[in-house]
Chain length 406, copies 2
């Protein structure tokens, strides 16, 4: 008998029929002998409707009141889920984030979980209930309703699993798990049975958006073992856990791609201390998230800096950097290019195997795909290529590392 | 400078445009120099949608979870109202029932307010906010969300006004106030500027459903002076307050009618102690609310008992009474009649004026309207008549007491 946390996203609880299906799965899990906590999101579409209402009463609704509004979405789901379980003869108790003891800071719409006091959750479990917790929401120290921002329900599930020391946390979603590459791009991609936190983080930050990085980071920090699996079938999913012996025998866990990227290059930047800081401070101040940064060794007294970002942010970046460049007063020029994509290979095995980058570059060269930028971490090699070539690039790299249809 | 509680029902906040209009009114009240607490209901239609969802997941949703579900309705309104006020440049803070300190018993879907601890409300007022409180909801001692049942938002407003010692509580609705009779029936009916709690209670229980009796009773108990007025215009409404000197000079405050009534008569009931108790215990156990009861003086060793009830409950009453009558074993027979209506005249002035009943009966007789049953209280005389005649009855009685177009 174990204690299991299951998380269901907005699509999985998108209508009454699906809520009943999830209720059935929760009861089945309980009947297998487990104590069950379910963390649920707002029904798909509900949040959009609430946002629409907010826009009709205010051009710039305050984040504090937005949280009060949006929190009704999950509250609706927890009540309906509990009713559905009871209608099937089960026992259930619903808890809002506040009732479940989820304390956050006061940063409305993007609050961080400060701590969880799961006394009420435990009490309800002990009475034989399936406990239904509203994801995505909590309560600040001064008693205000807060929400956790994007990926918040995953975070609620992982954090609750840590707080109650659950044996397993299952993140139910609309895919079967984490794949060696996007199966729409690489048809021979296969589901990864087990993946380490670090690999999952690199896959996430490289475009495989099964989960937000913050939830994986939280799980890693507190050692919460979790499984990503499909709410529409009974297939086993992908288990995400601390690094296991033998994991390194697989050199590359997967290939990840991210499209709609753009590149900004600043040529002939003065090679003096503080210049890079000035550039990236201006970009950050404009609220732009950047990804790969490459700075070439300076040949003269100037250097070249390139970085990638979402193509959507390109105009904002150009506007933010124009005054900075003017301030340099010299020959610095900015060139930009949209229509690029990033391809990454990820695997903790590369730490103990040399030649990963070489094998990747060779595969790309053989396919006559030009590499624009290169960036590496301890367990990742990433390159940017023309967006038109990224699918072909993914296929040849996937094959080169022996990932095809294991 | 005063402290004012304003309550707005579901129709008054039925869409974003109406929410903005209410927000404007709240700000105007604040700009007149008052501290303002607004109690709001769920937007019209929202509750029905939630009930529909509940029925789609369960045939018999638990009342506990129903409260969790329904409470989202007011929570949506408080957030939107606060946003609308802020969009107009005002300061607002929204509070759920629990956050506003509204403690109830644990009777889900029909909870009673145990007490209100308005600390947070006061704190928010002191910071210059218009405080928006979710009506209809509270929190039980064990931290569960509860709702107050029908008329719950009115009750929240009255109780909050009592707790913060408000100078005035204004109940905004879709009528201009309490009228001497329903203007659709008696076109010459006029709005009553002031009415005592007791008169208001008798009017409410006699079919003038501007407000539920429980809210009026609460206001009377705690001496909360309140005004019923129209959210769509600026007309003064009806002030409901303790009895004032001079009120008795008006003999009759108003005429009230209630349709869709039915009458049950039990003839030749054994005239022994405990028989009436047996009859009405059976009716109460079936969940039927009865109104007028009349028992005639017994002529022999049997008696006749009649009572009225909603016509909708008639089949239930017949089923509940059949075994009781069989148990009497004698000649008792039950006859029933639907299609009757009740007409009442109400006024604290009748305490000091004799002849009210006589004047009423004379007016009805002159119009050839037959009186079926008569029932009186200290400040009310009620009769039942054929439903087809009740409008004519209301007009002649209204005129007989000089209520026409004062």
């Amino acid at each position: 008998m174990g204690l299991i946390v299951q998380k269901y996203g907005g699509t999985s609880v998108g209508d009454p029929e699906r809520i009943r299906r999830v209720a059935g799965r929760l009861l089945r899990t309980q009947h297998e002998g487990h104590q069950v906590i379910a963390v649920v999101s707002a029904m798909a579409g509900v949040t959009d409707n609430l946002l629409k209402l907010a826009r009709q009463v205010s051009d710039a609704p305050s984040e504090r009141e937005m949280d009060v509004l949006l929190a009704t979405g999950e509250q609706t789901t927890i009540a309906l889920m509990a009713m559905a379980i009871e209608a099937m003869g089960g026992r259930a108790a619903s808890l809002t984030g506040a009732q479940a003891g989820i304390a956050t800071d006061g940063a409305h719409t993007r609050a961080r979980i400060a701590n969880i006091t799961p006394d009420e959750v435990r009490r309800m479990l002990q009475r034989g209930n399936i406990v239904i917790v509203a994801g995505f929401q909590g309560q600040s120290r001064d008693g205000r309703i807060t929400t956790l921002g994007r990926g918040g329900s995953d975070l609620t599930a992982i954090a609750m699993a840590a707080a109650v020391r659950a044996d397993l946390c299952q993140i139910f979603t609309d895919v079967d798990g984490v794949f060696t590459c996007d199966p729409r791009v690489v048809p021979s991609a296969v589901k990864i049975p087990e993946i380490s936190y670090d690999e999952m983080l690199e896959m996430a930050s490289s475009g495989s958006k099964v989960m937000q990085s913050r939830s994986v980071e939280f799980a890693k920090k507190f050692g919460v073992r979790f499984e990503v699996r499909n709410s529409m079938n009974d297939n086993p999913g992908t288990l995400v856990l601390e690094e296991q012996p033998g994991m390194e025998s697989v050199v590359i866990r997967g290939v990840s791609l991210e499209r709609n990227q753009a590149k900004v290059t600043l040529r002939d930047v003065p090679d003096t201390p503080g210049v890079a800081s000035e550039v990236f401070t201006a970009v950050a101040a404009a609220g732009i998230v950047i990804d790969v940064i490459v700075q070439n060794v300076s040949a003269r007294d100037t250097t070249d800096i390139s970085f990638t970002l979402s193509a959507l942010d390109l105009p904002k970046a150009e506007a933010a950097l124009a005054p900075v460049i003017a301030g340099f007063g010299g020959d610095t020029r900015m060139t930009t290019q949209a229509g690029i994509a990033k391809l990454s290979v990820v695997g903790i095995g590369m730490r103990s195997h040399s030649g990963v980058a070489a094998r990747m570059f060779a595969a790309l060269a053989a396919a006559r795909i030009n590499i624009q930028m290169i960036s590496t971490s301890e367990i990742k090699v990433a390159v940017t290529v023309e967006e038109t070539q990224v699918e072909e690039a993914a296929r040849v790299v996937h094959k080169a590392f022996g990932l095809d249809g294991r």
